[in-house]
């Protein structure tokens, strides 16, 4: 059972409610590591309750494996709840900060997609752009900036998601 291989690779989004205390990310990540699952993105933050955190973890794999693995996550003692989101029904957003050379701003503005750009800092050396949007949009943006040879560095938060009711 290896999520990184196989033919039926579809996006998987887990939403976990976990204890907000040391060692929890280690315990959750260990379960992925043991199965050689490659986490594409992980975002962790405190929830409306200060003693719990939410983790949004995305990866690719087949659906049966994803369901079996959800049971493994549920069994993990510090994991309070596990929800496997339907990517088709989940609103997904990610934030990126991108340092670009002069000309980067213009290239970024030309990338089409459901996202928002904001210039956070600017000088004659270039700019820092904030980009918010679905992960696909951010990837297109980064690709375009690389192709235009204006990308200096990028930092992405990882995907956060909520399912539409």
């Amino acid at each position: 059972m290896n999520g990184a291989e196989g033919s039926s690779q579809t996006p998987i989004i887990y939403s976990l409610i976990v204890e907000n205390k040391p060692g929890v990310l280690f315990r959750v990540a260990s379960q992925f590591r043991r199965r050689s699952f490659n986490i594409e993105s992980v975002a962790v933050g405190v929830t409306e309750r200060p003693d719990t955190s939410r983790m949004i973890i995305t990866m690719r794999g087949d659906q049966q494996m994803a369901e079996d693995f959800a049971r493994v996550l549920r069994r993990t003692v510090d994991v309070i709840d596990v929800d496997r989101m339907d990517p088709g029904r989940a609103v997904q957003r990610e934030l990126a900060l991108i340092r670009v050379k002069p000309g980067g701003k213009e290239i970024a503005g030309g990338v089409r997609g459901e996202g928002e750009l904001k210039i956070l800092a600017e000088s004659s050396d270039g700019a820092i752009i904030q980009a918010i949007g679905p992960p696909d949009y951010l990837s297109s943006l980064v690709d375009a900036l690389v192709r235009g040879k204006v990308l200096e560095e990028v930092v992405r938060t990882g995907v956060v998601a909520l399912e539409v009711r």
């Binding site: 049971r71 994991v79 309070i80």
Partner: protein, 564 residues
């Protein structure tokens, strides 16, 4: 203010859990706890290696059904203990393992005898706690016993820095704990149990496959009643040995790589496998595509992650096995007085009568199968047998009929050599009233034989029967069968004289050369008040049969006499 040290709180918490014995070895980072043990009635059994301490606690837990407790110091104490804790984890034994740790101020500074114990133990326990404040001791200890003993049972680790042991705090001891992410009490869904019964009643060739979960959950009485009411044959896994009495007419014995002919054959002929408390280990199923190929698999287990992990279940019931099998039995009794499996029963009887008493592939009349059968004849039914790992274990699996639950103790999942002897000592601490015998090989015994000192010191007499082929026999068997008899590192040049070795520890030692000598020595040994080592020199090329080779299916058994 009623201040109490962390160590005192730990010992008090252990007392509140009803702990009567802990197995361990002291060291610098756990001295405050050991000092506090002197003020308690809790018995401490001093091991001679931490691995053995964990195996002792494991044997104690499996024999008694209670939580075993072991203790070690930080660093090498903690790492030595790991193999024993991992052994317990693979076989779901409830254990609480306590390790000392350097003071919190020294942690992550590569202090003397410091190791990241939580980092290691997380992977081989249900949970690994690190105490950071003395005041946490009562809650964490309670939580550790709760986690270890409920749901799918297993080991839990507590890492206790030295300043947490010495530090004083106001202590409050909870009567119960609530862990949000842990909900062990899952009642079975009656509709799912009813569906399982439908499938059973629709089947024509049903078989029960009982695993270790049946014994751990105490579901064995219900299971036997179900088998007897419905007249369904019962095969087991290695861990399920003892779930039903193996001298029962419906018992087929274990399935697997070294399963009985009747169990392996009939599981593969079945059209329904009622799998109860099993995890479908690869040593049980062998090549999965050939496992019960025509059968509907109905899987009962307490652990939802077991469903579909190794073998796809057509229907599953998750939840406590005692509750779910009890419900299945009641529903069966309401719906059908007997099963209607006449043709299948005749087939079962035919296969069982042909193979039940078969001994295959032996070199002489003084071969391990004969030794194991003689042991069964001599031992009272409630005697406890542990095994080492390798050929000795598989001979015991095949030829020693287990009559009661919790009387057969073996390292099934991890296959830890050196397990049997310390586990026997732990079992004896739990059940001083019954004979305890370790079925050993010379290779395994040499891994933990220093536990002789513990058994003498602590007056925990057991019997060790060494099936001595002066080699690492199971590996040598594979080399004979699959590696063209090339014996890479399996033949011992210089074995000790086990008789004199035993005597040097103050134990009895005896060597036997015939069945009569064995019977006499064994009868004396099980009544002796000191540990006895019986050295049984066997033919060095004695192999275990039946044998399903790696990658083969259960119906491809080698019988050792050219038959397949």
């Amino acid at each position: 203010m009623n201040l109490m040290s962390g160590s005192r709180a730990l010992i008090k918490a252990l007392e509140r859990e009803g702990v009567d014995v802990v197995f361990g070895i002291p060291g610098g980072a756990i001295m405050p706890v050991y000092d506090e043990l002197l003020n308690s009635d809790i018995r401490h059994v001093l091991a001679r290696h931490e691995q053995s301490a964990a195996h002792m606690a494991d044997g104690y837990a499996r024999a008694s059904g209670r939580v075993g407790v072991c203790m070690a110091t930080s660093g090498p104490g903690a790492t030595n203990l790991v193999t024993g804790v991992a052994t317990a984890y693979m076989d779901s034994t409830p254990l609480v393992a306590i390790t000392g740790q350097v003071p919190t101020s020294m942690m992550a500074r590569d202090a003397f005898q410091e190791i990241d114990a939580v980092g290691i133990y997380t992977h081989v326990t249900k949970y690994s706690f690190q105490l950071l404040r003395s005041s946490e001791v009562p809650y964490v200890t309670k939580a550790a016993f709760f986690l270890a003993s409920t749901g799918r049972t297993g080991p839990v680790h507590i890492d206790m820095p030295k300043d947490v042991q010495t530090g004083e705090a106001e202590m409050s001891f909870p009567d119960h704990v609530d862990i949000r992410g842990y909900r062990p009490y899952v009642p079975p869904d009656p509709a799912a149990v009813a569906r399982a019964l439908d499938l059973l009643l629709e089947s024509e060739r049903p078989i029960i496959l009982a695993g270790g979960g049946v014994i751990k959950s105490g579901a064995h009485d219900y299971l036997l009643q179900l088998a007897e009411s419905a007249l369904i044959p019962v095969a087991t896994t290695l861990m399920g040995k003892g779930a039903v009495p193996e001298d029962h007419p419906l018992s087929l014995g274990p399935v697997g790589m070294h399963g009985t002919v009747q169990a392996n054959k009939l599981v593969n002929e079945a059209d329904l496998v009622l799998a109860i408390g099993v995890r479908f280990s690869d040593r049980t199923t062998m090549e999965v595509r050939g496992f019960a190929p025509d059968a509907t698999i109905v899987h009962f287990d307490v652990d939802p992650t077991e469903v579909g992990k190794n073998v796809k279940a057509h229907h599953a019931v998750t939840g406590d096995l005692k509750a779910s099998i009890g419900l299945l039995l009641r529903m069966f009794q309401e719906r059908a007085r007997t099963g209607s499996w006449g043709a299948w029963r005749r087939r079962v009887e035919e296969v069982v009568s042909q193979w039940r008493d078969a001994v295959v592939g032996v070199k002489s009349e003084f071969s391990p199968p004969h030794i194991l059968r003689a042991m069964r004849e001599i031992l009272p039914p409630d005697s406890i047998v542990t095994t080492e790992v390798g050929q000795n274990q598989m001979w015991a699996e095949l030829y020693f009929k287990v009559l009661r639950p919790r009387t057969f103790i073996t390292s099934g999942g991890l296959g830890t050599m050196g397990f049997g002897f310390p586990a026997a000592i732990g079992a004896k601490a739990a059940r001083p009233d019954v004979p305890v015998v370790d079925v050993a090989g010379d290779g395994s015994f040499m891994m933990t034989m220093n536990s002789l000192a513990t058994s003498i010191d602590e007056k925990l007499p057991v019997v060790v029967v060494i099936l001595n082929n002066s080699s690492l026999g199971m590996v040598a068997q594979w080399q004979r069968l699959f590696y063209n008899r090339r014996y890479a590192a399996t033949i011992f040049g210089a074995n000790p004289d086990f008789v004199r070795l035993a005597e040097s520890f103050g134990a009895e030692g005896v060597r036997v050369y015939s069945m009569d000598e064995f019977r006499n020595a064994f009868r004396t040994a099980i009544r002796s008040d000191v540990t006895t080592v019986i050295d049984v020199p066997i033919h060095p090329e004695e192999d275990v049969f039946p044998f399903v080779g790696p990658g083969r299916t259960l119906n491809e058994m080698l019988l050792g006499d050219g038959r397949e």
